[in-house]
């Protein structure tokens, strides 16, 4: 099956038209696996949610195994302990550099977020549909960031927080509010768009490679790997770091010095 202009058009129309009909030929959809009914409310169990649960389970099991293996922490680290210490120390210094020593406890939150986004972004390599290629996931994580931004702003800024919306001039209040609302939207759509885009490009490439005739099928070897390295590994890691760093910076910005 070849990749036709019609299908690309159909995909674009599908994206713009907000409909839930799958684009023909190119499947970038998050599948709805189950539709549960609670009274009049319908709750979908989607591919995104199931994948997230799989990664959560894997990560929590891994954490439990690491915890058991490292039951007796040694002063002189070796082997596995080194790897875990490296990862956690990296996160710790990352948080400290972005949010200062005082707010190092945010590492507890951002470690989880970082690992979740990273694993989601990289899961495309294993054939999963990345949960971060679904706006619901990125919006959920961004919502928590949005909540933390304003919670920390009110908690540490007191009255200054609300006064900040009237600065530098009171009539700029609407613009200030819009800019605050733009923060989570840009955060969530950046991550979502990058991962979804990579995923769609990979799907298109696989379709194109699949339609190659005869000996040209040789391109099936190697070409997808290189593209996976770029779209999944490189873009995935970069987007994870950007998302977490921006989240921390936005929260820190609301905390007065």
């Amino acid at each position: 099956m070849g990749l036709h202009l019609l299908e690309v058009k159909s995909l674009v129309g599908h994206l713009i038209g907000w409909n839930t009909t799958p684009a023909e030929g190119l499947d970038a959809n998050a599948r709805i696996i189950e539709k549960l009914h609670f009274g009049s409310t319908e709750v979908w169990i989607t591919e995104t949610v199931v994948n997230t649960w799989i990664f959560m389970a894997a990560l929590i099991i891994l954490a439990v195994i690491l915890r058991i293996k490292m039951k007796n922490y040694k002063n002189k680290p070796s082997g596995l302990q080194n790897v875990v210490e490296l990862a956690i120390e990296y996160m710790d210094s990352f948080v400290k550099s972005a949010m200062t020593e005082k707010y190092a406890y945010f590492g507890n939150w951002f470690f989880g977020v970082f690992v979740l986004i990273l694993v989601s972004n990289l899961s495309g390599l294993l054939g999963f549909r990345p949960p971060t290629a679904d706006l619901c996931t990125t919006a959920a994580i961004t919502f928590t960031t949005f909540f933390l931004i304003h919670f920390m702003g009110i908690k540490t800024g007191k009255g200054g927080y609300f006064k900040g919306y009237l600065e530098p001039l009171p009539f700029l209040l609407p613009i200030n509010i819009i800019s605050e609302l733009a923060t989570p939207i840009s955060l969530s759509f950046r991550l979502f768009g990058n991962i979804l885009g990579g995923m769609i490009i990979m799907a298109m490439v696989y379709m194109a490679l699949g339609s190659l005739p005869g000996i040209a099928k040789i391109f099936n070897i190697g070409v997808p790997s290189v593209l996976h390295v770029y779209f999944d590994v490189f873009a995935g890691c970069i987007q994870t770091v950007i998302f977490v760093m921006l989240s921390m910076t936005f929260i820190k910005d609301k905390i007065p010095d």
Partner: protein, 172 residues
């Protein structure tokens, strides 16, 4: 199978809520299981290492102070040793001088005593010889006179002899 790429409706809110709960559960679990214990451990170790470095530094300065103290003591010992040696040398010098001078006086005493003894013996020997000469000469002269002299001549001779004897000086 039904699916979607992006949607904005009530279902979106439900999906977002599910994902918020998922994220919170994961963050909580990872924080409890891994992040908190490891950071706590790392911080404790950092503090412990800092403490160890501090105590090592304190011990080093202590050791250096002790070293300086002992070096001072060693220096004192050196000077003390020198002074003791000096004193001993001076004492020995004094002693040796004393011994030599004592020996000299002793020797002088012995010498004087020996000289007096010698003189006394000499006097004694002189007297003895005088006596013996008198004896021998009187014996000889008696015999001679008895054989050849008259009484008058004899008396004259005796007188001469005696007076002559008185003039004789004995050589030592």
């Amino acid at each position: 199978m039904e699916g979607y790429v992006i949607m904005l409706d009530q279902q979106t809110l439900i999906q977002v809520a599910i994902q918020i709960i998922n994220t919170c559960i994961l963050c909580f679990a990872l924080s409890k299981l891994l992040y908190k214990p490891v950071t706590n451990f790392l911080n404790a170790r950092k503090e412990r290492i800092a403490e160890q470095i501090d105590s090592a530094e304190a011990r080093l300065s202590e050791a250096e102070a002790l070293k300086a103290e002992y070096e001072n003591k060693l220096k004192d010992i050196e000077t003390e040793k020198n002074s003791i040696l000096e004193k001993a040398r001076a004492q020995a010098d004094i002693n040796s001088r004393q011994i030599i001078s004592d020996a000299r006086t002793e020797a002088e005493n012995i010498h004087t005593r020996a000289m007096t003894d010698i003189k006394r013996e000499e006097e004694k020997a002189k007297d003895e010889i005088k006596k013996q000469i008198i004896e021998v000469s009187s014996l000889v002269s008696g015999k001679f006179i008895a054989a050849k002299m008259t009484e008058e001549e004899q008396n004259k001779l005796v007188d001469d002899a005696i007076s002559g004897l008185e003039g004789v000086e004995w050589q030592a």
